[in-house]
Every structure is written in C-alpha cells, then in structure tokens.
C-alpha cells in the first residue's frame, strides 16, 4: 500500500474562516515577539512567525507536512505576547487534524484510541471495573493500615454528590497510592464527592491528536456521566489539559451543560481560606525552597491569573511565604513546560527536551528544591528535563504537600519526596 500522503491545507483561507473578528493573521507586524518568546522556536528550523509568514506566502504544502506542528504545544504564549493578539495555535490544530492517522505520532494517536476504547475514557485503557477495583482495593488498605482514616470514603457513582471528581489514569494504573492524599483532603474538608465508574478519567489526547470528532465523543461521554449522576461541579483534579479540553470542548461544540467546571486548585485555596484545610508551614523548619509551575492549560489558556494567584496562596500557606520563589516569567506569561500538546506521547524526545530547556533554566534560576504543579504532564516533563539537564530539583503534587503539612501523609504516599522532605515528616 502506498504511503498515505498529507493533504494540503489552504491555510490562508482557513485562517480567514477561523478568525472572523479581528486578530487576523494579516495584521502581523512580523515583529518577532512571538518567536522570541516561544520555546519551540528553532525546532525543525521553525518558529511561530515563520509559521504565519509561510501561511501568508502560501507555502501550504510545506506547512501541511511540517513536523514542527507536533513540537508546538499549542500553549498560546505567542498570542499572549503578540500586540495583535494573533493565535498561531489554531492553525497548528488545523494542521494536526489534517495529518492522516497513520502519519501522526503514534503515541498520541494510541492514547486517543485507548481513550475511546473503554467507557472509562482513560488514555491508558483502564476499564471501569478495573478502576472500581483499584479504588476499593486501595481504600481497604488505607482503612486497615491508617487508623486515622479507618472511615475514609471513596464514593463511586454516588448520585447527587456535589463534586464529580475526575482522576488522571496514571494513578489507578501505576501509582494508586497517589490517590489517597486526595481522598484524605476530601475527607478532612467534608466534601460531598464521588467518582464515576464511567468517564472518570481526566486526560484527553484526542484534542492533541487533532481528532476533533474523537475529542467531541470523549467530552460527550464525560458530560453524560456528570449529568447522569446529577452533580453540580465537575471537579478537575491536578491535571492541566483535562480541564482545558473539557472546558474548551464544551464551548467549541456548543454543548449545553448545567454543572460547573472547576479546578481543584481553586478549592484548595477556598478551603484553606475557610479554615477547612488547616495547613501551615511549620513543618518546613529547614526552609526548603519551592517554586510553582503554572500549567498553561488552566492558567493562560483558561482561568487566567486568578487561578495562578490561588496556586501561590496555597503554596505560601504550605511552605511559608519566605520559602516560595516565583519562576520568571510566571502566571499567564509562563512558558509551557514542553510536555503538553501530546509532546510527551509524541516520541520526539530530543525536540521535547530542547523545548524544555527554557523550563529547566527557569527552574534552575529559582534555585528551588521542589516544583509544585497541579498538572501531570508538567510533572512528568519537569522530572524528565531535570534528569536530562542535570537538575537537582524534585516535582511534587499539591495533594502530597497538603497531606504532609497536615501530618497525614501515609508511608506509601511519599514517592516524590526527596530525603530533605522525608526528614520533615
């Protein structure tokens, strides 16, 4: 069979369709601010300004088949710094969707296929019954071994619960104990929550694979699941892109939903403010330094700076104001880590690390011992580039640190703690 070819897109025409109001690619000043601030610049000899100019110059064939579109994480930083607010990521999405399935990076495609393969919508293909089993199994163990939590709950398919909580597949699949801190937090604040056996998973690589139909299908399943349980809030746990794909997808596909989409980070902040999560930084006697990675998927691309402020509030409460060092740039201007957009799954390791060099430099400049982030992709990517470039920092979830601060972090829940943190327990 002949190699499938990549059809050619007329980018200029599409650009006009995509951006009817203002912000047209035509208004580009070719000033280069976008390229200067894009970590994917230089990869495959490309950058966002070149992408726009090539589109304008009608180099449709070249752009349609450029591998660079898989190196652009669609993080929208270019748009953020552009005086004309030009959004290249939309064209990149278009180009991705145009690649024949067979040619797309296999890892991303496979993740999307797996998501579609079960009712779980899990990118690791974990079926509902297995998820239910793992949750119950872990729960039993905790109840047994941690007397404080002998009544811990992890409700499943509980109708009318306030929160519908999603879960990144990585936990039930490969590090199930990492779910426990989250449950403990819910327990402590007395949240009315539930998992769903269906559509419980958070991740959604269908958007990154440029498969709009599959993206829609996944979102539909998740929306249906929330509606079925009649929950008021779809609560996104610490996973950046799952929030974005859901929130953006609902708008994009014009879906009607009558629940709220919220990120757990905002609730951490709220519960701390309300005194429900009595965290403090007294444990950090050695003044271990922390910084925060703002996932672009929930900060720049969705909530904006308000959620970034919440993250900082939570972090400072957890580690002490004086032990928090902000990365530069940060919040909405932060760099994407380079793990997003399916980059981690795309198999382009060298490019991904090149992209991640900026993140590494940012982290290195803070001198912090740990990076806190509410995003699984960010987490994996930062660990990887840390090892690759010889960094000495660790990456931790918020839930870990919250439980550590509250003195309830179980033995098996300490995977991401270095010796310095372990000593603080």
């Amino acid at each position: 069979m002949a190699e499938p070819t990549i059809p050619t897109i007329n980018f200029k025409e599409k650009a006009e369709e995509l951006l009817p109001q203002g912000a047209s690619f035509e208004s580009c000043l070719t000033c280069g601010l976008c390229s200067s601030g894009c970590p994917a610049s230089g990869i495959e000899n490309m950058d966002p300004r070149k992408f726009i100019r090539m589109a304008m110059l009608g180099m449709d064939e070249e752009l349609s088949s450029s591998k660079w579109i898989w190196a652009c994480t669609q993080c929208k930083r270019c748009q953020h710094v552009c005086p004309m607010s030009i959004d290249i990521s939309q064209l990149v999405f278009l180009a991705r969707s145009n690649w024949p399935q067979e040619k797309k990076p296999a890892g991303i495609v496979r993740s999307c296929q797996l998501i579609q393969s079960t009712d779980s919508t899990s990118a690791m293909g974990l079926p509902p019954e297995d998820f239910v089993f793992v949750v119950n199994d872990v729960l039993e163990e905790v109840r047994e071994l941690q007397p404080k939590f002998k009544n811990l709950e992890a409700p499943m398919d509980k109708k009318g619960a306030h929160f519908f909580v999603n879960q990144n597949s990585r936990e039930p699949m490969s590090e199930p104990d990492e779910m426990v801190p989250l449950w403990k937090i819910f327990d402590i604040v007395g949240a009315d929550w539930t998992y769903s056996s269906k559509a419980w998973a958070a991740e959604n690589f269908c958007m990154f694979s440029g498969n709009e139909k599959a993206w829609f299908e996944v979102i539909r399943k998740r929306v249906d699941a929330v509606n079925k349980l009649g929950c008021e809030v779809w609560l996104n746990t610490e996973c950046g892109h799952s929030y974005y794909t859901m929130w953006n997808g609902i708008n994009r596909f014009g879906m009607e939903v009558d629940f709220k989409l919220e990120s757990l980070v905002t609730y951490y902040a709220r519960w701390i403010r309300e005194g429900k999560l009595p965290v403090n930084s007294d444990w950090n006697r050695k003044n271990i330094k922390f910084t925060v990675q703002d996932p672009c998927m929930i900060v720049r691309k969705a909530y904006g700076d308000s959620i970034a402020e919440d993250m900082r509030f939570v972090t400072k409460a957890l580690v002490g104001e004086e032990n928090f060092i902000d990365m530069q740039p940060n919040r909405s201007a932060n760099y994407c880590c380079g793990g997003g957009g399916g980059f981690l799954q795309a198999g382009m390791t060298e490019h991904r690390r090149t992209y991640g060099k900026r993140k590494f430099d940012q982290i290195a400049a803070t001198g912090a011992a740990y990076v806190l982030t509410p995003c699984h992709n960010c987490h994996s990517q930062m660990e990887d580039i840390g090892h690759h470039y010889g960094g000495s920092y660790g990456v931790v979830h918020f839930w870990t640190l919250i439980c550590l601060s509250l003195g309830v972090l179980g033995e098996n829940e300490r995977t991401y703690l270095g010796p310095d943190l372990l000593e603080c327990i």
């Binding site: 000033c31 280069g32 601010l33 390229s35 200067s36 601030g37 610049s41 230089g42 000899n45 953020h80 710094v81 552009c82 005086p83 607010s85 929130w247 609902i250 708008n251 879906m255 939903v257 009558d258 629940f259 709220k260 989409l261 691309k301 969705a302 909530y303 904006g304 700076d305 308000s306 402020e309 902000d326 530069q328 740039p329 940060n330 919040r331 909405s332 201007a333 900026r358 430099d361 940012q362 290195a364 400049a365």
Partner: protein
C-alpha cells in the same frame, strides 16, 4: 455551562499598559488610589529602556539638545500646545523621580533624572540623547565620554546586532573602540534571541560559562559592551555577578525588536503590581467603555469569559496606532473606544511628507486627542467629555514623540498630571 461573571471595582481604572499606563498606576499607588489597570502588549514591548524627556526640538528636530529642561522652556515659547508644556517642570521632575525610583526598588535600577541629557548608544552605532537609562547601560555612556578602551561583543546567531557595525560607525568618535564576535554558551547553532539569552543568564551556571568566554574576548580591555541580554527580571544582579566573575566592567546596548528591555519592564510591572494591590488584567483589551456621571464601566473579556470593571474615574492611556489607541482609515483618524474627536491634518495627503526622514517629521504624528487643563479629553464642542475621564500618554495631540525624542517624557509626565487630577476629582 454555568459561568461566574467576574467583576472588579476600583477608584481609578487605567486603560492601557504602555509607559503611560504603568506610570499612572505607580503614581496612583503613591497616592493610595485603588486602581485597576487593563491593557495588552503595545509599544512598550519594543522600547529600548531609555527614558527620554526631550531630545530634539521642532521645527527641524536637528542636533540633539543637551539640556532638556532648558529645551522645555524653548518649547513652551514656540509650541505651547505640546503636552509637556502644560505641566510644571517640577512636576515632570518629580514624575521621573517617582517612576525611576519605583523601578529601582523593583530590581531595575535607573540613573536618576539629571540636569542634562546623556548621549547613549544605539544598535546601529549612532548616539541618541536621553534623560534616564537603566543602570545596566550606564557604563557605555561614561566609557564613551571618557574615551576609555572598550570592546563591543556580539553573538553568532543574533541577527540585527553587529559589533562591527557599531565600531565602524563610532570609530571616529571613539578610537579606542574595538569589536569581536563570540558564541553564547550552549547556543552555538542557528538563530538566537536576546530574550532567550537573557533568561539563560538568570541561571548561575550560564553566567559562569559566559564569563569565561567574555574574559577571553576582552583580552587586555577592561570594559565590554554587550547587546541587552543581562538577565530578564534581575538585570542589576546579573550584571553585578557577571562583573564579579569577569573582573570587567560590563554594559548593555539595546537591540532591535524583539528586544529585552521592553519585556523586562512589562514583566516586572506584571509581577509587582498585583503584589502591591493593583488589580492588573494583563494582555486584554477593553472592548467597550461606558462613562457616566458618577462612574464608569469597562467591558472586556478574556478566554474565560466576560469581565466588568466599575471605576469612579478613568485614565485613557491607549497610545497611538501601534497600540490601538488611535485608528487610521482611508477616510481619517478616529479614537475607537469613545469616538473622541481627533485633531488631525485636513486630508490624508498631509499625513506624511514626501521624504521619510524629512527633518520636520510627519504631521500625522501630531494628531491625537485634545484635553483641557485638567487633562480631560474634549468632546466635539470643546468641553470635557466627562468630569471623571482623563487622558495620558502619546494619544495626546500636538506632540511628535518620535522626532522630539520625548516618548517616555510625554507618557510619564502626563500620567503624573492625570493622576493628580484624578485625586482632585476623587476627593
């Protein structure tokens, strides 16, 4: 989907995040006025970091003027409509002091506003007059005036900044000037951006690597000039450390866009304003502005949805064409937010002179909105549009900041004046 509308209130809403907008917020902060600022990237992203007060005088903007204060006096007699002529010199001085003082506190030290203009280096190897400059650029000016030996260093892969060009153009005036090219550590292949180098230099290890190379490149010379790459958010610190590591005196020369100094300023403001209690909504444009007797409402939206801001007073600091404060169409120039009348040449034929570099500058650059003595924009009848609406920055008519080399001057001084008037209004 259920969304919560976001809503903010403030005593003052500043529209625009150029120098005028940021300056206005700082002055408001100093006067304890509760402020919200909204504005996206505009001209500030391209600035050099030099803060000009007044560098050349109409009508032919010839050789640079040495004493900008005296220049202001001359301007007052020849061109009284100029916004800078409507503000007392002492206020202008205070404005510059407060502004540079704030920057200094935030890690970007500036030379304080003096009696005369300094002649500072440009990336083409020309000199321009300015009043205040970032501390990172100061040594270049002193080394030049003292005619000390110096090496300008550029980097392989950095486009638009040629040390040979700078040396070739300055050699008559600075015989002790030499130049060389080096590679930036770990960035030897292809194109590199000043922004990337600056951020890399925030990392101690990169500084150490670069320092070794610089020492080699400097040879016997004790002063070196680099493109503006000495760190992004802590330039003072980066320069100090680089000097310690190399034992050399180091200064920066601004580069062409996309360049570091503008991003430095913007990121610093975006970093610190929220900490100081200013409600900053960065990277967004106000779509609609409704001014009423006792207050104003601003409408905007970000990717998350609609936002409204209610404020008792408003400063319009939306800049000119580049920033979107003014719009030029085939039929004329308009102000898009409130459709304020714009003073402008009679026809498009008069917008530009025949020759681009005509010494007298172009008429279109003097177009803009009119304000009364309290810097309130005027409506079609020549009366203030509203008691609570003020304007600042280069959106104002009767100034050509480009040729007059008074960009920061107009922005900072008028912002000071506008905030003063806001305070009067609020009390």
């Amino acid at each position: 989907m259920i969304e919560e509308a976001r809503h903010f209130t403030a005593e003052l809403a500043v529209i625009g995040s150029g120098l005028a907008g940021f300056a206005a917020s700082i002055f408001a902060l100093n006067r304890n006025i509760k402020t919200a600022q909204i504005g996206n990237t505009g001209a500030i992203a391209y600035t050099t970091g030099y803060l000009d007060l007044l560098g050349s005088l109409a009508p032919d903007y010839a050789a640079s003027i040495e004493d900008p204060w005296q220049g202001l006096e001359l301007l007052r007699s020849s061109y009284p409509e100029h916004p800078l002529c409507r503000i007392p010199q002492t206020d202008i001085h205070t404005a510059f002091e407060q502004f540079t003082g704030f920057l200094g506190e935030c890690g970007i030290s500036y030379s304080s506003p003096g009696k005369t203009n300094a002649r500072v280096l440009t990336p083409a190897g020309t000199l321009k007059p300015t009043l205040c400059m970032p501390a990172t650029m100061q040594i270049g000016t002193t080394a030049f005036s003292r005619q000390e030996p110096c090496v300008i260093i550029d980097f392989k892969g950095l486009k638009g900044f040629s040390s040979s060009q700078i040396a070739a153009n300055l050699k008559d005036q600075w015989p002790e000037l030499r130049n060389t090219t080096i590679e930036f550590p770990d960035m030897s292949l292809g194109e590199i951006y000043p922004e990337v180098m600056a951020r890399a230099l925030e990392v101690p290890e990169t500084r150490e690597k670069l320092a070794k190379i610089l020492v080699g490149a400097a040879g016997e010379t004790k002063i070196i000039g680099l493109p503006a790459i000495l760190g992004m958010h802590s330039p003072d610190l980066v320069r100090k450390e680089m000097e310690q590591l190399t034992g050399l005196e180091i200064f920066e020369i601004p580069t062409m866009p996309p360049s570091v100094p503008g991003i430095r300023l913007r990121e610093m403001f975006e970093q610190l304003f929220p900490q100081k209690g200013i409600t900053l909504i960065p990277q967004q444009k106000v779509d609609k502005l409704k001014i009423e007797q006792d207050g104003a409402r601003l409408f905007l939206s970000d990717s998350f949805g609609p936002i409204t801001v209610d404020a008792k007073s408003v400063i319009l600091a939306t800049g000119r064409f580049l920033s979107g404060g003014l719009e030029a169409s085939i039929d004329g120039i308009t102000e898009p937010l409130l459709n304020l009348p714009v003073t402008q040449p009679g026809s498009r034929e008069e917008w530009y002179r025949e020759k681009y570099t005509d010494r007298r500058g172009h008429e279109i650059n003097k177009a803009g909105i009119e304000v009364d003595a309290s810097f309130r924009p005027l409506d079609n009848n020549g009366a203030p549009y509203s008691n609570n609406l003020f304007a600042a920055g280069v959106i104002l008519a009767h100034q050509d900041w480009i040729r007059g080399r008074c960009g920061a001057g107009v922005a900072i001084a008028t912002a000071y004046k506008a905030v003063e008037e806001v305070e009067k209004y609020l009390s």
